[in-house]
């Protein structure tokens, strides 16, 4: 009987500590990118005229690594978002007005202005993650037998 009491006591203490640890969130913990990205409006956040090239590019650099990790990086005509970011950074460093991007196979993928390339880097990086977050609830709507009505 004493053993049973000890086991129960140990379990209660253990669960309480585990629960407290789960509930505790340090106040200086930064917001999850999956939450913060949903607060952005692509047209405003990636507006180069309004925010400047550097700020827009910083935003792209913040979200694109997460896109790559999730396997959702956008790619247009063989040019992935990371290439737009790389080429834009290179153009800024070189003081060039145009950005030359390359496809994943190393072929020329187009020439853009720095502002456009920065916009595309940001828009693709942000939209990809937003799409991933949204898909967690919207995928069911396309499925017969789950959410799709016909």
């Amino acid at each position: 009987m004493k053993n049973l009491f000890n086991i129960s006591l140990a379990l209660v203490v253990g669960f309480s500590l585990f629960g407290c640890a789960k509930l505790y969130k340090p106040s200086n913990q930064s917001e999850s990118p999956y939450v913060s990205v949903m607060k952005l409006h692509v047209r405003d956040a990636c507006n180069v005229q309004k925010n400047g090239v550097n700020k827009v590019l910083t935003l792209a650099q913040k979200y694109n690594p997460i896109d790559i990790k999730e396997g959702i990086e956008f790619m247009r005509f063989g040019v992935p978002t990371s290439e737009y970011i790389r080429a834009t950074k290179q153009a800024i460093k070189d003081g060039s007005k145009t950005v030359q991007v390359y496809t994943r196979k190393g072929k020329k993928g187009g020439k853009f202005t720095v502002a456009f390339a920065a916009w595309r880097s940001c828009a693709f990086a942000v939209a990809a993650l937003q799409q991933k977050v949204e898909a967690k609830s919207t995928w069911k709507l396309a499925m017969p037998g789950t959410g799709f009505k016909y």
């Binding site: 049973l4 790619m75 247009r76 995928w139 396309a142 499925m143 017969p144 789950t146 016909y150």
Partner: protein
């Protein structure tokens, strides 16, 4: 007292585990039944078709579609329900362009490895493509046919092949032709909780929008099945993989399912997933389960 508590706990755990051993494929069965119901309703007759094809001209619906076709013909892709595509398909099948691929595959099947074994050692019965992908509980991942071929090569101290390459396509063409000749139907099994999870992951990926064009696989192959993009009709998810490996007119040669899925990824506007990735395996597992009961009809011809 303590012994009673322990006995009680063990009995509770046992009953819980027995309850959770309910068929792992229960959800997948429901999903498949709902998919068949949807596809059969969609292609039942031209009168009810208007709600499924709001933008298709009435004339096209009346004259270019095959309505109420047999279930097995979902395995033909868009040739199952579009008259003009069926006519082209039948013409191609009179003198199939993939015969040399099957012959090359047969040679590869019997070719000896350095250690004296061959693919015939790993796959004594070549009529096996209806059983892949399989879930391997030991490695906790889906094994596709291409991965099974590579596993055989590795086991025999050979270098694995590129899963989107020609050698893989040739060998799979041979295996698929043997499975077709044996009249086998897809028989994908979900026999563990981990397998059910892999199926669910594949399902979610299939129905999730992806890429800068915001398309999901289902946009074209469930809701869009039978609709057109320019002159090309979309094939249905049901029976979609029954024709793989396929001879694609666009490629001018046979290609594996992985090669096609990489192409789909690119079309959707995203960096394609690796052919040997877990993502690819899960997606193929879901697609193959949906095709259960449909006869393997491969290699085949597609646009």
């Amino acid at each position: 007292m303590l012994s009673k508590v322990i006995t009680g706990s063990v009995l509770t755990l046992l009953s819980c585990s027995l309850l959770s051993a309910a068929p792992y494929n229960a959800q997948a069965k429901k999903d498949r039944a709902a998919m068949i119901k949807y596809m059969e309703a969609k292609f039942k007759n031209p009168k009810t078709a208007a709600k499924f094809f709001p933008y298709t001209p009435k004339n096209e619906l009346e004259h270019n579609f095959i309505w109420g076709f047999p279930f097995q013909e979902f395995g033909l892709g868009d040739a199952g329900y579009v008259k003009s595509v069926r006519a082209q398909f039948d013409n191609f099948m009179m003198l199939p362009p993939f015969y040399n691929a099957v012959d090359n595959g047969e040679a590869l099947y019997h070719k000896k490895f350095a250690n004296g074994n061959s693919f015939a050692t790993c796959f004594p019965n070549p009529a096996i493509t209806n059983l892949y992908p399989k879930f391997d509980d030991k490695t906790n991942r889906v094994v596709t046919l291409s991965e099974a071929v590579n596993n055989c090569l590795i086991k025999n101290s050979e270098s694995p092949w590129k899963m989107t390459g020609m050698k893989m396509a040739y060998l799979e063409s041979y295996l698929a032709s043997k499975t077709t000749a044996a009249g086998k139907k897809f028989d994908i099994k979900i026999q563990s909780a981990a397998a059910a999870k892999a199926y669910r992951r594949g399902k979610i990926e299939f129905y999730s929008q992806r890429g800068y064009l915001d398309l999901s696989c289902a946009t074209c192959h469930v809701l869009g099945a039978g609709k057109r993009t320019k002159a090309d009709y979309h094939s249905p998810l049901l029976g979609m993989i029954a024709g793989f490996p396929v001879y694609r007119l666009k490629w001018g040669h046979v290609g594996t399912l992985e090669k096609r899925l990489v192409g789909c990824n690119k079309n959707q506007g995203e960096v394609p997933h690796k052919p040997n990735s877990k993502w690819m395996g899960d997606l193929e597992y879901f697609m193959a389960y949906m095709s259960n009961g449909i006869k393997v009809n491969a290699p085949s011809v597609r646009k």
